[in-house]
């Protein structure tokens, strides 16, 4: 099953990279989101994955028995998901603003060619 995750990570990264190389700002943003998802999965894979055993201590026990999912990557990913939402949401409204100003979502139109001063 890990191999499926490996393949998913590869596809997510490939799609993310492909999208950030595009001219459209919306696609750039989607690419960033996909890259973030790929990274989350990679971190997830770092802790050995265990099926169906959430890291929750049994009601009658005081410590976690040994074959549970690794809680540390999960804590990291949780933080990452939330922070990337902050980033994405801000980028989305920024996109809207840029669009309102220059009436396009073409990255190339953001360039203001400067006079050569050398």
């Amino acid at each position: 099953m890990e191999l499926l995750l490996v393949a998913s990570i590869g596809f997510l990264y490939a799609a993310g990279v492909y999208l950030i190389l595009k001219r459209s700002m919306v696609r750039l943003l989607l690419g960033i989101v996909l890259l973030g998802n790929g990274t989350n999965l990679l971190i997830f894979l770092l802790g050995t994955i265990t099926k169906g055993k959430p890291p929750v201590i049994e009601p009658n026990l005081k410590v976690l028995a040994d074959i549970y999912s690794d809680p540390v990557p999960q804590a990291l990913i949780l933080t990452a998901i939330v922070i990337s939402f902050g980033l994405t949401s801000f980028a989305i409204v920024l996109l809207k603003r840029v669009y309102a100003l220059i009436d396009t979502d073409d990255l190339d139109d953001l360039n203001t060619p400067e006079e050569e001063d050398i």
């Binding site: 099953m1 191999l3 499926l4 995750l5 393949a7 990570i9 590869g10 596809f11 997510l12 490939a14 993310g16 990279v17 492909y18 190389l21 595009k22 001219r23 459209s24 919306v26 696609r27 989607l30 996909l34 998802n37 989350n40 990679l42 997830f44 802790g47 994955i49 265990t50 099926k51 169906g52 055993k53 890291p55 410590v63 976690l64 549970y68 999912s69 690794d70 809680p71 540390v72 990913i77 949780l78 933080t79 998901i81 939330v82 922070i83 939402f85 902050g86 949401s89 801000f90 989305i92 409204v93 920024l94 809207k96 669009y99 100003l101 009436d103 073409d106 990255l107 360039n111 050398i118």
Partner: protein, 771 residues
């Protein structure tokens, strides 16, 4: 001593703050600062002549070996006196030279800064500290050369000088650090004590090469000499002070300072003899072809610096005595000549030798100063220059048997040129008939003509009492640069010997050369023909190529397209990662250790890939966003399968919110823009780059599976979640308890993002922004 070095710096800082409140006539009182310093140095004379050295050490950056350690020995005292005494006169002189100039405060600020840094160079006993002050002199020289910053060529000259001396400084730093690493100390005294260690080290040739580049650029030795004539764009007091009497001698000072440490080897001697010898003849010859007074002086200064380098290369006791003496000789007469030139320029408005004549009738005291300085420079008996010249010849004549002749011939040739150049600058403008256009010329204020006269008289006084100069200044300097021996006895009269003969011949030949060599524009043109192969034009050509290269390079690397930056970054990352993967060895998968694949998991991944395909290929924004949300939900499902319910919940919420926000914004945007179909090749390139990146990341993921991970941290949390934090959901406990601060700041970040989102949505376009 710290205060001695810092005084100039303090003055310059005070000027920066209060300079504009100083009344025009009051600038002359700033000369009190160098005057006080020179009094201090004079006060140290008896002690230092008695063989004492003053030491002062303050910790600064001990971890770098950089201490504020200062040391006053004979050599420092000699240079310190030059810097402060000439500095005093320059400060007085400039007060009327630049009278009424709007930026006179700035000028004095730079000048004080320079004085402080130059004193720092000569007093430092720490290599790194010396370097700091060394660079400060370059910087203040840059500002002073470019003082008339409304003139393009002035700015360019300043930049050239900074480039060359800065470049030299860079090499110097490497050399100094190398020495410090080898000997394990940056203190010059300790280094000298362990000189053998450095001389025997395999990197010794590299070290002296680096030090030489530093010294040669600063002291304008061929082929780095050309910044100095250019630097004559500076106001004349600056040329007199920095570019003749003091700063350019910093290189010579450095060589003298390092003579006991690095000197005496064939590599040291031959390089200095060759470079110095060539420079003195080349520049001496050049000086004769110039028609601009300051140009003549600049080239003769380079020639003198060549002579000094040459003498240090010779390295015998006599040569070092000659070098120390000649430093004083030259500083006195050359500063005088620059100052008289400044007066001529100031009063007549020209420095052209072909036009100037007969000024003695209108500028009598200036003429006296110029005449005395010229006679000293020519080495006429009773002047200090005579003694300097004698010592030079004595040194060359007593050199090793096989080179004696060549060295003497070279020295005589350079000196003949110097005699003629001195006459051109000190006498030529004053002789002949007074041209009508200069009839109105009158003597400037006393503060302008007194300084050169004082210096010129010093040339004579020193020449009349060489014994005490020898005892008080030259002997201690010599003790600092070589093994202490007999005290030096400078004498007016050496008796009839070959040295006197050579001196007389030099004087005669120089005078004849001066009389024959009339300044004319033709000769300038003649020299101009060789301009193409001069180091200067080579430098300029190199400069232009560098500019072209950097603009090309900027054009390619900084072209303004985000994607081209990204492509480069990604390809670089790919190469790096691929290299690391290759190094880490072959990939292998242990299928037994992997969990079996169930049908629903496979379906989920298929869903994910399909959605990704949709996102990439979608021609409408909405489709793409929907695809992205499907991707998010597929990942959410994976979290559910592998025991991460918290992640699944978070992912689900966030994904939904993102889609909502997207839809909310996209609602306002028109349908997806179809950009004109892009180049097929670029699309292929992007696809290849992306797939390679994905592939590499997959391989890294497989590699991760191979490596057993340490579970220490997880185990700690698993065992302590309930016991310490009373929570049974370990992930939650980590977030809100063990790593509670992280989470708090995360909330702060989100809050800031939310504020940003809110205000951007609320913000209306200003009328000016609406096109």
């Amino acid at each position: 001593m710290l205060i001695v070095v810092l005084l100039g710096l303090i003055v310059s800082l005070l000027l920066a703050a209060f300079g504009r409140h100083i009344r025009p006539g009051w600038w002359i009182f700033l000369a009190a600062a160098p005057l006080a310093l020179s009094a201090w140095f004079v006060g140290q004379l008896p002690a230092v002549a008695g063989g004492e050295t003053l030491l002062e050490n303050t910790r600064w950056v001990p971890s770098l070996g950089l201490d504020l350690s200062f040391r006053l020995d004979g050599l420092s005292l000699l240079f310190g006196l030059l810097i402060t005494v000439i500095g005093t006169l320059i400060f007085v002189y400039a007060s009327s030279y630049l009278k009424g100039h709007p930026y006179i405060g700035r000028f004095y600020g730079y000048l004080s800064l320079f004085m402080a840094s130059m004193l720092g160079v000569v007093l430092s006993d720490n290599l790194l500290l010396l370097f700091v002050f060394w660079e400060l002199t370059s910087l203040s020289s840059f500002f002073l050369i470019g003082f008339n910053n409304d003139q393009a060529d002035s700015r360019k000259s300043a930049l050239t000088a900074l480039c060359l001396t800065g470049l030299g400084g860079f090499f110097l730093l490497v050399g100094l650090v190398l020495m410090g690493r080898i000997a394990g100390t940056y203190s010059i005294q300790e280094l000298i004590a362990s000189a053998g260690l450095i001389k025997d080290h395999p990197s010794y040739p590299v070290i002296i090469a680096l030090i030489f580049i530093g010294a040669f650029t600063k002291s304008a030795q061929f082929p780095f000499h050309f910044w100095l004539p250019d630097a004559m764009k500076a106001p004349t007091p600056v040329s007199a002070y920095l570019h003749s009497a003091t700063m350019v001698k910093a290189g010579v000072f450095l060589l003298l300072r390092f003579t006991p440490l690095l000197g005496g080897t064939p590599g040291w001697s031959y390089t200095l003899l060759l470079v110095g010898g060539f420079t003195m003849m080349y520049a001496g010859g050049h000086a004769l072809f110039r028609t601009d007074l300051k140009s003549v002086l600049a080239y003769s200064t380079i020639a003198v610096l060549g002579v000094l380098t040459f003498l240090i290369g010779l390295g015998t006791r006599e040569a070092l005595i000659a070098a120390c003496t000649f430093v004083i000789v030259h500083a006195l007469y050359k500063a005088t000549l620059f100052l008289t030139t400044g007066i001529i320029d100031h009063e007549t408005g020209t420095r052209d030798l072909t036009q100037l004549s007969g000024l003695r009738t209108v500028l009598m005291p200036v003429f006296i100063a110029g005449l005395l300085a010229a006679l000293s420079s020519a080495g006429v008996p009773l002047f200090f220059g005579f003694i300097g010249k004698d010592l030079i010849y004595e040194a060359t004549l007593h050199a090793g048997e096989e080179f004696r002749l060549y060295l003497t011939v070279a020295a005589v040739f350079a000196n003949i040129c110097l005699v003629a150049a001195g006459f051109m600058a000190g006498i030529k403008p004053f002789t002949g008939r007074l041209v009508p256009q200069f009839k109105q010329v009158h003597l400037p204020e006393w503060s302008m003509w007194i300084p050169p006269l004082v210096l010129a008289l010093l040339c004579l006084v020193f020449g009349l009492f060489p014994g005490s100069i020898g005892k008080l200044i030259v002997s201690p300097s010599l003790a600092a640069v070589s093994v202490a021996g007999e005290p030096v006895h400078l004498k007016i009269w050496h008796g009839f010997n070959p040295v006197l003969l050579l001196s007389g011949a030099t004087l005669a030949a120089g005078t004849v050369l001066y009389l024959l060599n009339s300044a004319s524009a033709n000769k300038m043109a003649f020299v101009g023909r060789f301009e193409v192969v001069s180091p200067q034009s080579l430098f300029n050509r190199g400069w232009r190529q560098l500019m072209r290269f950097s603009s090309l390079y900027t054009g390619i690397l900084h072209n303004g397209f985000l994607r081209s930056y990204l492509v480069r970054i990604i390809i670089f990352a790919e190469l790096l990662l691929a290299f690391e993967l290759f190094k880490a060895g072959p990939l292998s998968v242990d299928f037994d250790s992997l969990a079996p694949i169930t049908i629903y998991e496979a379906m989920n991944v298929l869903l994910l890939v399909g959605a990704l395909f949709l996102v990439v290929k979608a021609s409408s924004r909405l489709t793409a966003v929907v695809g992205m949300s499907v991707v998010g939900f597929a990942i959410c499902l994976m979290f559910v399968f592998y025991g991460a319910p918290d992640l699944a919940m978070t992912q689900f919420t966030i994904d939904t919110l993102t889609v909502v926000l997207f839809a909310f914004v996209l609602f306002n945007l028109p349908p997806f823009l179809k950009f004109p179909t892009r180049n097929k090749a670029i699309i292929t390139r992007d696809a290849v780059v992306a797939l390679v990146f994905g592939g590499i990341l997959s391989m890294i993921a497989i590699k991760v599976l191979q490596v057993p991970t340490s579970k220490e941290v997880s185990k700690f949390y698993g065992e302590n979640a309930y016991l310490l934090a009373k929570g049974k959901n370990v992930v939650n406990v980590i977030l809100v308890d063990f790593r509670g601060f992280d989470t708090m700041f995360e909330i702060v970040v989100l809050g800031i993002a939310a504020l940003g989102v809110y205000s951007l949505i609320k913000l209306r376009l200003k009328p000016s922004e609406r096109e």
